[in-house]
Symmetry: C2
Subunit: 475 residues, 2 copies
């Protein structure tokens, strides 16, 4: 009875061995007259944290996957009674949870991580980031950078990311090859940039990009007007209209810095959020990154229009941007997710760090140690991010019918010993490096730390080669 | 010429192979008529970050160690000309730097990590930590907990730690066996605790402890009056006098919470810092942990008396204690180090996280992205901690004559690619898990992630067994 034994082996260290052996010997693959359903993959974990509405946790638990879809979430015994799988991942000592969702990054900017730190924002941009981008952003750079970012994301348990950059079609191809899910926004700016000389050219590029990737299995194409202070009203609305026409997300930076807030007040006598409402920009598929400089009325605006918000605690701290009112967003039930921002300002893409920092920063900022507890931080990094992206029907939790995006996380480190509460451990002691296995859309991208979709050595060698050009660019 | 080849192998990937081969063939072990000096260990790194006063960095670099002492820090070629070693660690791709110094923790409290989080401080203490301590603190628990903490510290690159807990002689023995350097303070409290019913008993215990470990190679015994609000003036001064009599450090919590500050104002009409000055408590061997609720006059008091201060950014954020004025301490040139605090309130002992958080929090708190740059954060985690402990003559930098406490850190992860600035990478992208090799007092405690002084599986199994008692204690 090899099919049964496969599942049995998967759970044998969880103390249910005898039960499953009994089942395998007694019932075979027939249960109550029904043949067990053949599926592609079963993942067994010491804990399965579903992140469903009831915050159900199974210990031990198992997830059955058929193709790209979750078809069962239950105890290992129940899963073994119902399904037989071609492959089983026996994460017997691990926590299994939904893949993490990074709602704001600029993937290729991993190429600029650590290039310059600890500077005033305008110094950093004008002396390092803009010159480096002017001289090095190209289809090649974007492809090499995205592969490196994808490697880092797969290795640290991110399964979906929202991106804003240039040559987004290259990012889309590299993301698809790596097997990650991407909500990828072609950037629209009033300045000439590497892939478009004018906003009109950028909008045309964005439309071509959206058409090319509209029905992709993994890629959700989007349009990304950079911010309200880097585009005029006509361009902002053209971008919003493009999003509506094709029913794709519209990604924008919102109220990140005090300067942006001051500029909006001076030029429009409104907050950035109110200004964007006044021109009719907001809609349910818009995702606003940062949302630091917002007042209660702004939060009501974002809630009213169903705007998703991406909170980026590490970037906001490192760049000294200010404190996003996260507890207020949570209380107002705004669709809130977490982001790392680009690795140039963070300096990594580790969503475990983002979850921990969200909790630490909220407690610190409100002087309340009960603020943003571990469970809420985990919600923001999973189902909250899915809601912010308008994708909570497909991803963000382990539930039957959803896409099979999940990760297995080791809790065996000395730093994670002993374990009293798996959710606390995920937020307060786990790093991206503890992720053992990453699955997106039912495909295993990393298994026990071995990457399946990228040639690790080549990705890193290419990035190191390109880094020399970046060094030369800012000499 | 095997001795020469040993060094040659160590540096061969650093592009100096031909030079060293030429040296090995041409000059043998005789240079300018002098025989190269036999030493115990040479460590070669892609970068050697010395943390000396000039912040010198060698790339590549090498450190020669004889017994417990650093005898050479130079280029690999210069070291190879001067020394031959019984053993060579070829950390060709790694950063070699001084071991990290954790200036405030309660090592055995790793046993309570994640037991309860996200509570108000008094709830957390009264419902979880105090009941758990009342029922589980024992020589056995302290030994098992310290071994687990030592394992975590060795694995994350901490080579020296300052501790305040109970049964400190057990902590001392476990620390010595693990091979770490410890500044270990027996706690004095006005309440009955596990190892002493009265402050007088605790003081007698502390004195016995100091005598027993006064001349240890690795252990610096200390006395640790818990805080100004948990001891009366007579006890505080008895503890300070004990420190002076034996010339050992005196460790105390200072101005951690607003409650402590308010209590001091109400009872003594002074700040906690001023009150401790008024009774004559402060001295150059006192180390004050936290120092959150201090004003400019308090900082002047601490500077005047040469008090070391331990900043604990993660604990302060997670417990919502407030914001220590770190930039002010740095400007006032107070001897400032970093601590993790106990793992019950952090939740780990990773000093890389403490350094990153110190930088992030200072930038956030001052709204200045240039505040506490990476180099300063690294200073606080190494030589700054040594100064705070009054040990900067012996540890905290890689300099000839100092104790050989150093670590080798990998920068090969995708998350660390590319590398433009090694100091930035140490602070903004490195985790404790990137530490490959940990050396204390010339002894290799971990080599390429293999622990030499502890039986890893036993340490973790013992902790997991004890965890059940902790669970029962708070049921």
């Amino acid at each position: 009875m090899p099919r049964a034994w496969r599942v049995e082996r998967a759970v044998q260290s969880n103390g249910v061995k005898r039960l499953l052996v009994a089942w395998a010997l007694g019932a075979g693959v027939m249960v109550a007259g029904q043949t067990a359903r053949q599926v592609s993959l079963i993942v067994v974990g010491r804990f399965v944290i579903t992140q469903n509405a009831a915050h159900q946790m199974l210990s031990p638990g198992a997830v059955a996957i058929d193709g790209s879809t979750i078809v069962g979430v239950d105890t290992p015994e129940a899963i073994a009674r119902t399904f037989v799988a071609s492959d089983t991942i026996a994460a017997n000592d691990d926590i299994v949870l939904p893949g993490l969702i990074n709602t704001h990054t600029h993937a290729p900017m991993v190429m600029y991580r650590g290039l310059a730190d600890d500077l005033a924002l305008m110094d950093w941009l004008n002396r390092y980031i803009f010159p480096a981008e002017a001289k090095t952003v190209s289809p090649d750079m974007v492809r090499i950078g995205t592969r490196l970012a994808a490697l880092e994301m797969i290795e640290s348990g991110t399964t979906t990311f929202a991106d804003m950059y240039y040559f987004e079609e290259e990012i889309a191809r590299a993301t698809r090859e790596a097997g990650l899910r991407g909500i990828l926004g072609e950037t629209i700016l009033r300045f000439p940039v590497a892939d478009a000389k004018t906003p009109a050219e950028a909008l045309a590029r964005a439309e071509r990009f959206i058409k090319a990737f509209k029905n992709d299995r993994l890629i959700v194409p989007a349009v990304a007007p950079h911010a309200m202070y880097t585009n005029d009203a006509a361009t902002l609305m053209a971008a919003a209209d493009l999003g509506r026409k094709y029913q794709v997300p519209v990604l924008i930076h919102l109220a990140e810095t005090e300067d942006e807030w001051r500029m909006a007040r001076e030029q429009h006598h409104m907050t950035p959020t109110a200004y964007l409402e006044s021109i009719g920009f907001w809609g349910p598929r818009t995702l606003a990154a940062h949302g630091v400089w917002v007042d209660d009325a702004d939060i009501a605006v974002l809630k009213r229009h169903g705007v998703g918000v991406s909170h980026n605690p590490e970037s906001n701290m490192k760049l000294a941007s200010g404190t996003a009112p996260v507890s207020k967003y949570v209380r107002a039930n705004v669709a809130l997710g977490l982001g790392t921002d680009g690795a140039a300002s963070n300096n990594d893409l580790d969503m475990f760090e983002a979850m921990r920092q969200a909790s630490f920063l909220a407690k610190h900022a409100t002087r309340d140690s009960t603020a943003l507890p571990a469970q809420t931080a985990l919600d923001l990094g999973t189902i909250g991010g899915a809601r912010a992206l308008g994708m909570d029907g497909q991803i963000g939790s382990l539930e039957v019918g959803k896409r099979a995006d999940l990760i297995c996380v080791s809790v065996a480190a000395a730093r994670q010993t002993p374990l009293y509460d798996p959710v606390s451990h995920l937020i307060y002691t786990t790093r991206g490096d503890d992720v053992r296995t990453t699955i997106v859309d039912g495909a295993v991208l990393m298994r026990d730390r071995t990457i399946k979709t990228l040639d690790r050595a080549t990705v890193i060698a290419d990035a190191n080669r390109l880094a020399q050009k970046v060094r030369d660019a800012v000499k």
